[in-house]
């Protein structure tokens, strides 16, 4: 493990441009027979093409249309998520928290960037930013306003700081304008930000 010491830390020995730094590190590991570039390609493909917020939207739209499912995932989401094939790294212990007229939920990871990858994909840049991590616990309403979300004064905010391997998914309220639609049509209303709590469901463009 790295320790605090007076020597120059190893990372300072790499080139200063990040593009070159990644290349230098990968080249060394490949040349030593420790990393297969095809495996790195496969991970890139996985992140870019096979995970994303549509998985979470399927969970939310199903919860809006299937009361038994909704009740089950609010109690313990994992059995259903496993059955739906929506689990994996960074989604081992998902907890679904429900927005109500009384309470709006928002998710953050102040200590790093914990996020439910199998449901929402790789976190957006703002989720990993210092400003979001530092501020959303102390002044969530100001931060949400920067996302264009102004909460009513009679709705409390509950901010979930993901400090453990639990990953939180916000179950937004179903908009009145989206009543009566089937789960497939509803899926298009569920934005990524609505499932983090920095937005609300929106009519598809």
């Amino acid at each position: 493990m790295p320790h605090d010491h007076g020597d120059a830390p190893p990372h300072t020995l790499l080139p200063s441009e990040p593009e070159l730094r990644v290349k230098a590190l990968e080249s060394l590991l490949v040349a030593k027979g420790l990393v297969d570039p095809a495996a790195v390609d496969a991970i890139v493909d996985q992140m870019q093409n096979h995970v994303g917020p549509r998985a979470g939207a399927r969970v939310v739209s199903r919860a809006w249309t299937d009361p038994a499912f909704r009740a089950r995932i609010l109690d313990d989401a994992m059995p259903d998520l496993i059955e739906m094939g929506l689990t994996g790294a960074q989604g081992e212990h998902v907890v679904v928290v429900e927005n109500t007229p009384d309470t709006h939920n928002v998710v953050v990871c102040t200590l790093c960037s914990c996020y439910p990858w199998p449901l929402l994909g790789v976190p957006p840049a703002w989720y990993k930013s210092d400003a979001y991590r530092a501020r959303v616990v102390r002044e969530p309403r100001k931060v949400l306003a920067e996302f264009g979300l102004d909460l009513p004064a009679d709705q409390a905010v509950r901010v979930w700081d993901s400090t453990a391997e639990t990953r939180y998914l916000v179950l937004p309220m179903q908009p009145d304008a989206a009543r009566g639609l089937d789960a497939d049509a509803l899926e298009a209303w569920v934005t990524r930000n609505a499932m983090v709590g920095t937005g609300l469901p929106e009519a598809p463009a």
Binding site: H3, P18, L29, A39, E92, S129, A131, R158, A164, E165
Partner: protein
């Protein structure tokens, strides 16, 4: 005491830039993320050790680097500390030999496909029943320190230290990061979602009913 990564509640940051980018802002970020994942089997680092690696960056470096630059720097330092690479190799760009047992841990493309969707839980069975019940008041450790290692990894954010909250959920027993980050075993403990009133956390809360919920291990907590 906590390290530079522990920034919850800090003053001075500007507005959140909510701009939508593709999954990554630049190709090298994607590569840095994937390379980190591909290198993990080499040292067998736990997720907690990975986090601690990034948290050990000097504060000035941590603040100067972008998110994926931190990953790269943390990864590089861990690879050297773990004997996977040497400083000489980094400086010269000329690879030395790697032990065969380390090469045998190389991640294959087939293993990437197989690992997608595989769930490796952090919950463990423990003998002792949970010490705290849902609804009960608890007090957090006075300071966010690691009891095993000075300056070590912990997941109690400084802003939630030394405060009274109430147990909202019991998550079962989970691996203790404070131990797992330092090769001290898993030492699983009951884990709770603990709610704190904004008025107890901040001098000027935005709303009297707002709350922050933090997942905290049993040894971080005591009865009032």
């Amino acid at each position: 005491m906590s390290r530079v990564h522990d920034m919850g509640g800090r003053f001075g940051d500007g507005p959140v830039d909510a701009t939508e980018y593709p999954a990554f802002k630049a190709d090298w970020e994607t590569r840095a993320h994937a390379l980190t994942t591909a290198a993990m089997p080499l040292g067998g680092w736990t997720i907690d050790a990975r986090r601690h690696g990034r948290e050990c960056l000097p504060p000035a470096t941590y603040m100067a680097l972008s998110y994926y630059e931190k990953w790269l720097a943390g990864l590089t330092d861990m690879l050297v500390a773990g004997g996977v690479l040497t400083g000489e190799e980094l400086q010269s760009g000329t690879p030395g030999a790697a032990p065969a047992d380390m090469q045998a841990r190389k991640l294959t493309p087939e293993a990437v496909a197989a690992a997608a969707g595989r769930r490796v839980p952090y919950t463990r069975d423990v003998d002792d029943p949970p010490a705290f019940a849902v609804g009960q008041s608890v007090v957090t450790r006075t300071r966010p320190f690691n009891v095993f290692v000075a300056g070590g990894h912990t997941r109690l954010p400084a802003y939630a230290a030394g405060l009274t909250g109430r147990v909202l959920r019991h998550h079962g027993a989970h691996v203790l990061p404070d131990a797992a980050a330092h090769g001290l075993g898993e030492r699983p403990e009951h884990l709770y979602a603990v709610a704190f009133a904004a008025g107890d956390l901040w001098e000027a809360p935005e709303h009297p009913r707002d709350e922050v919920v933090v997942d905290l291990w049993q040894s971080y907590l005591r009865a009032p």
